[in-house]
Symmetry: C2
Amino acid sequence: MKDIPMPARRRLVLLERLLSNYTEKNITSQKIQELAGWSSAIIRRDISYLGVNCGATNGYRTSELLAALSREFNFDGEVRHCCIVGLGRMGQALLDASELYDSAFKIVAGFDTSVNKTEVLSSSFPLHPTTLMKKTIIEEKISYAILTVDKDEAQSLANLLVECGIKGIINYTPCVLTVPKDVLVENVGLLTALETLSVMGEV
Amino acid sequence: MKDIPMPARRRLVLLERLLSNYTEKNITSQKIQELAGWSSAIIRRDISYLGVNCGATNGYRTSELLAALSREFNFDGEVRHCCIVGLGRMGQALLDASELYDSAFKIVAGFDTSVNKTEVLSSSFPLHPTTLMKKTIIEEKISYAILTVDKDEAQSLANLLVECGIKGIINYTPCVLTVPKDVLVENVGLLTALETLSVMGEV
DNA sequence: ATTTGTGAACAGTTTCACAGCG
DNA sequence: CGCTGTGAAACTGTTCACAAAT
């Protein structure tokens, strides 16, 4: 894993997503190219990092590839605990997170600065005021946070999360978060995503 | 713009986000490094693509940099029209999209396959059944779609959007969408983002 | 016959290091 | 003097093209 290039890792994650919704028994690099848009050459190299030796002719066995991806990324180990920080409209929309059912990730807590929110809303896991964040994150062994607060609270809550020893943040806010190098951030805010689309499109 | 490398474009978008929330009059490449985590060398090169000549010593003038970014990315031209496809919990959470207020993007329509949804919900822009998608996208000159449907509808609605001539899709579903090369996709689904975080983190 | 897996060539991106500017 | 802007070097990632596998 150590020496899989970063762009390859991102593609392999998408390959895992792709194969999860793929029903054929076998798949060729050519077929993946049609479905995902990357060149078949780079797909073969990406897959070669996984160390599967498929046996040519019919392409890869879907199940074998998926297993190799899970193994390499440790998606078959212990389930990773996550929390939602910010229970506004967006945070509430993620509360059920049916998407994560059957995945390697599980939301085990929600936080909001407003005690009102944490008391009124209900979910299958406990909702706490942010004052209990440190305690909960440590006790529940939470690795990742999903940040869905207002932009004026974003950096201060990111700071708090870092203090709690979080390993990564999914940033749904339109802010650039300042965090130490060992804390990873995925920026998935709507405005950021729209600006990126628009900018990648210009010839 | 033509020859700004893709990784540089992504950073420049984040630089734009960063500066939008930055109140000092001047900023140095060193300061950006502290805030965003990229090396000061690469920041200077990224900015050099914009063709601003700042005049050393005190770093860049924040306002000048922001203006150059807006100019380069055409954020100061006509507002780009967007639509939400899928009015479930997530789609509804994006309906107000206060985030886009004062930006280069505006949501002008929402769609759902269920007429029920489009009739019951209310928003500042019209909600239509997907049967009216082609008509509306053309009439309203909609460039970008925000896809928040269930995973079993994701590809078929992506197909429809492509047929309507959409330029890019913000994909909030956990699916990999198959689209022509000239249609761009930003994958911001929760599961995809969590898997990416986890995979980028492994040493 | 078809498709993988991979050295070697190529292309793209980042870093280094320093001249030049205010 | 501190900071930018940028050639040139170093590094990283992608594509080519073909031998090996079945």
